[in-house]
Symmetry: C2
Subunit: 333 residues, 2 copies
Amino acid sequence: MQRVTLQELSQEFRRVLDKSGFTPEKSALCARIFTENTRDGVLSHGINRFPAFIDYVRRGLVKTDAEPILVEACGAFERWDGQQGPGVLNAHRSMARAIELARMHAIGCVALRNTNHWMRAGTYGLQAADAGCIGLCWTNTTVLMPPWGSSEPRLGNNPLVICVPAKGDHVLLDMSMSQFSMGRLNIAAKSGEPLPVPGGFDSDGNLTGDAAAILRSRRPLPIGYWKGSGLALLLDCVVSVLAAGQATFQIGAEGDETRISQLFVAIHLERAGCAEAGAQLIEQILNDLHSAQPSDPDRPVTFPGERTSRRRQESADHGVLVDTEIWQAIRKL
Amino acid sequence: MQRVTLQELSQEFRRVLDKSGFTPEKSALCARIFTENTRDGVLSHGINRFPAFIDYVRRGLVKTDAEPILVEACGAFERWDGQQGPGVLNAHRSMARAIELARMHAIGCVALRNTNHWMRAGTYGLQAADAGCIGLCWTNTTVLMPPWGSSEPRLGNNPLVICVPAKGDHVLLDMSMSQFSMGRLNIAAKSGEPLPVPGGFDSDGNLTGDAAAILRSRRPLPIGYWKGSGLALLLDCVVSVLAAGQATFQIGAEGDETRISQLFVAIHLERAGCAEAGAQLIEQILNDLHSAQPSDPDRPVTFPGERTSRRRQESADHGVLVDTEIWQAIRKL
């Protein structure tokens, strides 16, 4: 492990993106998002994922010069086709458009098809919150998880984001429908550390905290058993229908995870007449949450997203601790 | 237990509602919803809940003559005040309005404050699907569940509904953020049957399937541990801000569960230009799901809501099996 400054990170991402065919403008935004994801502590969808992203670019699965096109516009809803462009750029542009629609109609909804992995899902929730909006978005994925009552993978883990602006850290929920994301399972399998709670089934059908066994059986556990299985299915149904795009079973047939479908909803709090009162209410809700006695006195109750600004400051002050092997690999790209 | 026909149920509900101060029109719709919830097998929010509903009416917590009023209209979003009227009527009217807004803007969103318990959450998802819309709605509740990392209840279990129209049964997800709803915990505690998976903590902080122990400790388990805890918090934040209504901590301070906040979103598939293709895609998604090998050959993999039409037919053919004690209590109301 070694420390790398945010500037070094950003410059290195820029260098590789520039030589991979991105225009300067796209390269800058893409590098910014990869840097910010890393800065916020989401290395799995920041620096650690960057080499795989570049691999997709070089294999032509992510088309650097593709521009999303508007397929259908009706009122507060629009459907866009991502043209297999970079997922982070397509997603950023889609949430930006949802925010514009929300400025006009109070709520705006953009469905996006033919796009690629958006890296950290929370990026687009924070984007909405920074613009004074509640942000709600989700993506489908390739086949990763069996439905409840089967051991055969059929569902995506379909990460879901809900973000509400707050005076300090925005309240940011960013969660996949499997108890542990694939990134988390891979890390635990590599380290051999047991998961804190059962994360799936082993090949004999027993619940286990052994991440390697779960990856072998391809049976991660949905959150809440049948409930997360149902929620993952519904998220796929809604997003693929509205995007007129590929559903999880079709993405799964492609081999690589590409041409996925995403949904972006923004609700403009000022336009909806509840910005000021809403901010006060959120503060009260979070105060009430913080008043709950922690089970472990050393671990106060926190809200999702609470430590983001602290992590940002730490990253700005001291750089980010990264895997030397990955960092070296990026420098050779 | 005894069998009661749907006509008997409906007539009995009508009789009690009529004499409790409902106008004939409101009485008819309210009786219809309680009958349909019972018919669809959701007795916990049909017949079994009817006496408690009437108790709330008679105590003045549910105001039979209240009409929801429009507080703010901006584009595709409206905020309504339920005036503490009957939850089922307020919710039905709010989803109807969201559908109207969706007809105009493709997506419509109604936030409702000062309302009461809507009984079966799925009712309003099905209402949207019957109108050719994707329906998304949720409610907050009183304080029912500790946040992750604490044993002190602070969160509601905030049921969430997502419903997608399908050719046969609509795909209907209707789930609370606790692994088991309060209704389910009460039934299991009464029968003494262990829950199929751990549903909460006992007073010593150990995970347990003993529903009575969970009710005593007031520590139901959120789905997916910290994930459901976060999702419950965010659902409360979004709905209470948009409704400019009460959040869970404020409802909890009231003693009775009243003056709650709800959100209704409809997306009109025809208006959004994806009705026909969407229906085909849903059929393919469900076929793919059904192709998954079941772990238990006697229990094929199903989608949420799959058996609704079969249960409806059975109820129509044979009546509904109800608790004799509850039925007699209703006849005496």
